[in-house]
Subunit: 237 residues, 2 copies
């Protein structure tokens, strides 16, 4: 993404460039939205409330976010990191499943995201499943891209012994199927993770807002992959 290409002619240490301001208000509003939902419940939070809390007009709110929910679950549309995508295709063909999972789980939590906001949002997801579903739905928007990547990877590892059109079509089907199945697994992971987080939150007293032992994405990823491996060996016997 190259965060600040600064195409401006003069690019000194300006105090408040336009984009900075935009990002700033975006996160400010999102924080307001999330914390308001947490403390008053979804139904008792109106857009107007979020607005006054964030110091913007309602009209501006809807310039920033398409919907009220978008402010809560996050404005940024989930996308795939170019580099990771490249790495994914280039990797050796053996550990496909875990690789796909990794790729998928990395489109959710974006890089430089506000830590507090992130965990709060997670708690919101735990409380209001519909919102999480919406988030998952947004993730499925990139299904096509993922499928393409999986297809490329499959083609790479199979290049040696098959190159017919039929095979290509077949592999495309595989890619699609695999992607959807793995998306389901990601959903499982997300649920597990949220549950785990909720538990630790519940266990620790209110004052303990410091970092508890969050299971780490990589950890639960490994666990899931292992479980998946052991599970999938069953049906074929």
């Amino acid at each position: 993404m190259a965060d600040t290409p600064t195409p401006r002619t003069t690019a000194p240490a300006r105090s408040q460039t336009r984009e900075d301001k935009h990002r700033e208000t975006t996160v400010r509003v999102e924080r307001s939205a999330v914390s308001l939902v947490l403390e008053r419940g979804f139904d008792n939070v109106t857009v107007d409330l979020i607005c006054s809390q964030s110091g913007i007009s309602q009209r501006t709110f809807f310039n920033y976010f398409k919907t009220k929910n978008a402010a809560i679950i996050g404005a940024e549309a989930p996308t795939i990191d170019e580099n990771r995508a490249r790495a994914f295709i280039a990797a050796t063909g053996d550990d496909l499943l875990p690789d796909v999972l990794t790729l998928l789980s990395e489109i959710g939590p974006r890089a430089g995201i506000d830590e507090q906001l992130f965990t709060d949002r997670l708690r919101v997801f735990g409380l209001y499943p519909e919102l999480m579903h919406e988030q998952m739905e947004r993730m499925t928007r990139v299904t096509a891209e993922i499928t393409e990547l999986v297809y490329l990877r499959l083609s790479r590892s199979a290049a040696a012994h098959s190159a017919g059109d039929a095979d290509a079509a077949f592999r495309h089907g595989q890619a699609e199927l695999l992607t959807h199945a793995m998306l389901g697994v990601v959903r499982y992971m997300a649920l597990q993770w949220i549950q785990g987080n909720d538990a630790t939150v519940g266990a620790g007293a209110d004052h303990d807002k410091s970092r508890v032992d969050t299971p780490t994405l990589t950890e639960s990823l490994h666990r899931t992959v292992e479980l998946l491996r052991r599970t999938l060996s069953i049906p074929g016997r």
Copy 2:
């Protein structure tokens, strides 16, 4: 719920029992909604329009359906058929994957549904993915039940050589994971199917509303299972 236990004292061939009427108007409104969306586009169909078309007041509409979308995608909450559930658990442990898939794909299209309405709705799903997502989301509501069933099935086939608590927990994890993964596969199937249907619809002229060669649920199910089998043998090598 044993569809017509008729707890009434007098249960002769009454012309229009209360429930009959309710079901009747329900389907009437749903038909109006779906066909209106098809001919005018989602955004150009208001609840008021659907109401006047169906001869009910708006207030009544919202007594029948929770939301506008509910009228379009169908009011009936997807549930699992008791008998099928029983059969699923009782089945031999070998063909788990296809069985789960079958079970899942049968919670969508309900038994005695209006044929025309069904296919029209499918076309709507093709046109407006958000609606299909909503439908899928409703399906995921029964995740817990499915998971339980899968768990029971797993336990049955594994009963011989393991009964520890740890094993039970493990199997529960498996069940959950499997359910979510298979839900993803169902999503894949649904998409494939809709695509196929759209194609045939596009090919046939407008007047040809008779039954074309719809791929049949069982057919595409078999194909999917086969593909799944062949695909899953890859990652483990």
